[in-house]
Symmetry: C2
Subunit: 414 residues, 2 copies
């Protein structure tokens, strides 16, 4: 048994103790975890300093160092996140369906914890706390495997969280950290059949593909978003400029940012110069197909551009012959995350929402709205881009499963 399996087995053994707790007990654990973060600034920041120094020495980019950095403000935010969870409704013990059968059997389908949720993530150490909080609130043990760059921060955070859990009389193994940050440890997590009930990879496309390819435990893919905005012939072009600019520029590094703009040929001459002016002013580099470059200056787009999630201020721009062409482009290059149409044509909007295969389809709105916070879920563990169990923003309601409870007085089948 590898170390990873041993950690998962310990989490599995610990899980029932949490599953048996009341809402109030789990909220008390969250409060204790928040208190531990509040009281642990010195230890956390010292550990984070070691990660930052190592990162600087290893030549991490300033963006990556910023993501790695913790400070008292960020730590207060992390603790506040834990306390906000205590205000959210308990996802457990909800009766999803209930009926009495003709033979008198009472059937209830109730929400229960999954058991052990494993999570593999990159960069930000605050994910360690966010994920542990969501797991505790939903009654699940968690096994966390962060990146090597944040290992000291993650160890410091996990130690505080585990002490808080133990302090409330529960097994510390409910919050488990895999300290082996080699590639093999991810593989071992994926092979822990019977020990890991759900594995969530959060990170780049490479990490996610590797996890899916190597895993035998149930996986929910999150976060790869090659999102398109299609500006229809019948679009309000002012609105379209605002939506494209927001979708690209508001926060380019996240999965619900737009990566490709598709423009109906009939409005290309009118629209492209206006959107180019706005985007260029915002510092966006454009990569256009031939038809686009006939109207505005842009770098030439290669075949590869249509499949690239830039995650920065670059946008691929293509001219399409109409809705069919746009739908075909999106079907080929989309990642089932978020796709948007800008149009005043009701029929076009209905076809787009009905035919596009994605977790979220926007009409006359920015792709940036696919977000658990924006949807009012209060907390989000990621955005599922697959179709089983959870699709789109995943909140607490997606971190549970159900169980049928059937009560009778001696019924047998005839």
């Amino acid at each position: 048994m590898s170390d990873v399996s041993a950690v998962c087995a310990a989490a599995k053994t610990a899980a029932p103790a949490l599953a048996r707790t009341s809402t109030a007990q789990r909220d008390a654990v969250l409060e204790a975890m928040a208190g531990a973060i509040d009281g642990g600034h010195d230890a956390i920041l010292a550990a984070n300093r070691r990660d930052l120094d190592a990162g600087a020495e290893a030549g991490l980019s300033s963006a990556m160092l910023d993501r790695l950095r913790l400070d008292p403000d960020r730590l207060r935010g992390v603790a506040a996140g834990l306390r906000e969870l205590t205000d959210l409704p308990d996802p457990l013990g909800r009766v999803v369906r209930g009926f009495t059968l003709p033979n008198g059997l009472d059937v209830r389908q109730v929400t229960v914890p999954l058991g052990v949720i494993a999570m593999v993530y990159e960069g930000r150490p605050n994910v360690t706390v966010d994920a542990a909080g969501l797991a505790v609130k939903s009654g699940n043990a968690c096994v966390l495997r962060g990146s090597s760059s944040a290992i000291n921060s993650n160890v410091a955070l996990a130690e505080l969280l585990r002490a808080a859990v133990a302090d409330r009389g529960l097994p510390a193994e409910l919050v488990s950290l895999i300290t082996d940050t080699g590639r093999e440890s991810v593989k071992h997590l994926g092979r822990a059949r019977g020990l890991v009930d759900l594995l969530i990879p959060r990170g780049g496309a490479g990490l996610i593909s590797a996890v899916v390819a190597e895993s035998q435990v149930p996986v929910i893919e999150t976060g790869v978003g090659n999102c398109h905005v299609y500006v229809d012939r019948a679009a309000d072009l002012d609105m379209a400029v605002d939506i494209v600019a927001n979708a690209k520029v508001h926060r380019p590094s996240v999965c619900n940012a737009a990566e490709t703009l598709l423009v109906h040929r009939d409005v290309a001459d009118a629209f492209l110069p206006r959107v180019a002016e706005r985007l260029t002013a915002d510092g966006v580099v454009l990569r256009g197909d031939e038809a686009t470059r006939a109207v505005i200056p842009a770098e030439p787009a290669s075949a590869e551009d249509w499949d690239t999630e830039y995650l920065d201020l670059t946008l691929a721009v293509g001219v399409v012959d109409g809705l069919d062409d746009a739908l075909a482009h999106i079907a080929r290059h989309g990642t089932l995350h978020t796709e948007a149409i800008v149009t005043q044509d009701r029929a076009a909007a209905r076809r787009f929402t009905s035919e596009v295969d994605a977790a979220a389809v926007m009409v006359n709105a920015s792709t940036r709205f696919t977000d658990g916070g924006e949807f009012g879920f209060g907390a989000e563990i990621g955005i599922s881009t697959q179709k089983l169990h959870a699709r789109g923003p995943m909140g607490l309601a997606e971190l549970v499963t159900t169980k049928y409870i059937v009560e009778g007085d001696g019924q047998v089948r005839r």
Copy 2:
């Protein structure tokens, strides 16, 4: 690209045409499929004859030959099953959640098809028709891979179904059969990422493990059921005899049949002789632990017996020290399918339903009730023993996913 990938790709390409149909159109396809079965008895039975002859030559058991056998009565039942689907509510287009955000965005989470459902199954050729019907009703293309023993029957059935689909103006590839019944074809199905949205293995534990181990597409495990009945100290012993006998004898070959009986030590002397008398009269072979064999005659149970899904008239019997011991035994040996307690003690029943980790937990009822038909779902594609997406009997409602449709009038994120 293997042949299997090509078949999956064709199904994927065909799928949107079905997703766009109305309820009435899909019901018309089902009616046409039923008509094709009705009109195709000669062709189907001739093909089935070839499978039966080959099976007899290959030395298949009479039970297996019976499962393989089609006759006019069974074919009428298969067609009736398709027509019954037309009476069930459409699982598509249901608004699961809907809300308007403070910024005016209208958000609806609606049910949509998964896309392509692949199914690997053994034995009975009627599964070919049942699975195709469930897929059509739920708006999904299907790729079916049955067993080599039923290949001629499956080809004949699939040809008729495909002709019926084409006859209704839809692509025949919506119902696709993999005719390569070698082990490799299952592996290729599991590797068809982006082409297969859900893979459902239906069969023995070996098949299911192999599919899970080798697949990169989302899988729902079905059907392995090492189900227990625990007879508590506070059980009504007459009721317990009826429940144990029903759970074991009513249909021993299915996954919700009981495989192990656990008896509280305090009632072992009173209960075991009674249940043994009934079970022995019904032809059940008992395999008992030492404490059991001190009370009734039984073959000695080996360690392996506690993990065996006999699927025939054999029952493992163990004496436990109480509820804790029973819960520990079930946690170690259960397959998360169905577990039952017989007791008049409210506290024991509550602990059992709360602490047992299984798709269904029965109190004073036979394990045999975990069934889509019994639950009133009208049609069942299998019983999920995993925790993601679907747990327990899977009907039409479990063969769909959701999509968020967000409609606005120019909203952008601030």
